[in-house]
């Protein structure tokens, strides 16, 4: 019962396979494999320096991977970046528009780069966002600049949108207006979207699947609903104040405070409670439901304490 426009593409829309990107000796992206289905929205989230922007730049062919393969809409990002840029609408983290150009000049400049440019879409979006044709880029507020960037990214009717932390630094109203613009085009055209953000709330509104990126690696990559259902926090009492040696599988994070033991478990099943309860010195096992934000924090904290 799908009422949305369907993409006719075969295979994943985005496919990374064993991708490394080294800057000097340090890996910004560390063996990343990832696939995004056509017509889905993928939310990429991670702390600063996790490798989100580096990954996105590789997708757009703006950075070459040190090794591994990057494919977007069936094209190799290394050799066919031109084709990718024609089919993808890209809103970069930093908007590199000439500050002295007027809005209409920026629009004209982008228009000339795409054979598929749709003037009606462009006009409609410029009006909707009340972007004045004659204003210079340097006179635009941060919110208006991001909205202009979105207009430019969708007016050539791309099959995919790649949005690199577009909403950071925007006020709540501008955020919502930007997201609504994205949603409207997704409703009408069914594009595949990759959205990188710091906001789990935005991820839940916009995305079907989520990837937690940390240290250039994916800590989790899953459908959001499945992730919420399969990750739980468990609270138990430790009779002697120290956690058991052999932890059950799937523990992503744990904390001991006095006799209270908190642990977050991925791939949680009812047997997990049983297994934890059977451990030596563990009593009163209780399951606590947690939201996506706590879940994300636990994954990252657990990773930090391991390294």
């Amino acid at each position: 019962m799908s009422l949305l426009p369907q993409s006719n593409g075969t295979g994943p829309a985005i496919e990374l396979d064993g991708v490394f990107k080294l800057f000097g000796n340090s890996p910004a992206v560390d063996g990343l494999s990832l696939s995004v289905e056509h017509g889905s929205t993928f939310g990429l989230i991670g702390p600063n320096g996790a490798g989100k922007s580096t990954t996105i730049k590789m997708l757009m062919g703006l950075l070459a991977p040190t090794s591994g393969s990057v494919r977007v809409l069936g094209h190799d990002a290394g050799t066919e970046a031109t084709q990718i840029r024609q089919k993808v609408g890209y809103v970069p983290e930093l908007h590199l528009m000439d500050r002295w150009m007027r809005v209409k000049e920026v629009v004209g400049f982008c228009r000339s780069a795409f054979s598929t440019w749709n003037d009606d879409t462009c006009r409609e979006m410029l009006d909707r966002y009340e972007l004045p044709d004659d204003k210079k880029v340097k006179q635009l507020s941060k919110g208006m600049l991001v909205k202009l960037s979105l207009v430019l990214a969708i007016s050539h009717e791309p099959e995919m949108l790649i949005l690199d932390e577009p909403m950071s630094g925007l006020d709540p109203l501008a955020r919502e207006e930007f997201l609504d613009g994205v949603l409207q085009t997704v409703c009408d055209k069914g594009q595949t979207v990759l959205l990188s953000t710091h906001s789990l709330g935005d991820i839940q509104r916009m995305a079907d699947t989520v990837g937690f990126l940390y240290g250039g690696r994916l800590l989790a990559h899953s459908n959001i609903d499945d992730l919420l259902a399969s990750t739980k926090r468990v609270r138990a009492t430790l009779t002697n104040g120290s956690p058991p040696e052999n932890l059950p599988t799937g523990v992503v994070w744990q904390q001991v405070e006095g006799r209270e033991w908190l642990l977050t478990v991925a791939d949680f099943t009812p047997e997990t409670v049983q297994k934890i309860g059977d451990l030596q010195g563990v009593e009163n096992v209780d399951v606590i439901d947690i939201g996506l934000e706590d879940l994300f924090k636990d994954f990252v904290k657990g990773q930090r304490s391991n390294s």
Partner: protein, 137 residues
């Protein structure tokens, strides 16, 4: 419809709950159309795939049905089944509360008293509903 990003309940279930409540409250009557995927997605600022999943869930329960090319409609007994699920979910909440109260060592009498007190602070809207005996102010 208010969606809570902090909750462990996935957005699609929160949306399904919202529609179920609206049907139970008579916002959409049996046989009437529901908002289109696009309209609802834009109204609640959420990905249309998520709204689709919520509608799929409600269709599976038999609360709504789709007519080819015409959209989605509330099923004939949709309002009754929505009220029945509201009752089930109330039962579940009670059960959770009672288990927690028992774990904290409360007696049945204390639990009943707490329940009656809670019932009396929320105003009853339906006719024929009156506060519990013994607690009339």
């Amino acid at each position: 419809m208010k969606l809570d990003p902090g909750s462990h309940i996935p957005f699609y279930l929160q949306i399904a709950d919202g529609i179920r409540d609206a049907v139970a409250a008579g916002v959409y009557l049996p046989g009437e159309p529901l908002p289109s995927l696009r309209a609802l997605a834009l109204e609640i600022h959420t990905n249309p795939n998520t709204v689709q999943k919520a509608y799929d869930e409600l269709a599976r329960e038999g609360l709504i049905y789709s007519r080819r090319g015409k959209g989605l409609f509330v099923a004939e007994q949709g309002d009754e089944s929505a009220r029945a699920s509201a009752q089930e979910s109330l039962q579940r909440s009670f059960l959770e509360g009672i288990i927690a109260a028992r774990a904290a060592g409360m007696s049945s009498r204390e639990i009943r008293k707490a329940f009656t007190a809670a019932l009396n602070i929320t105003p009853a809207k339906r006719t024929g509903d009156s506060p519990e005996k013994g607690n009339r102010r």
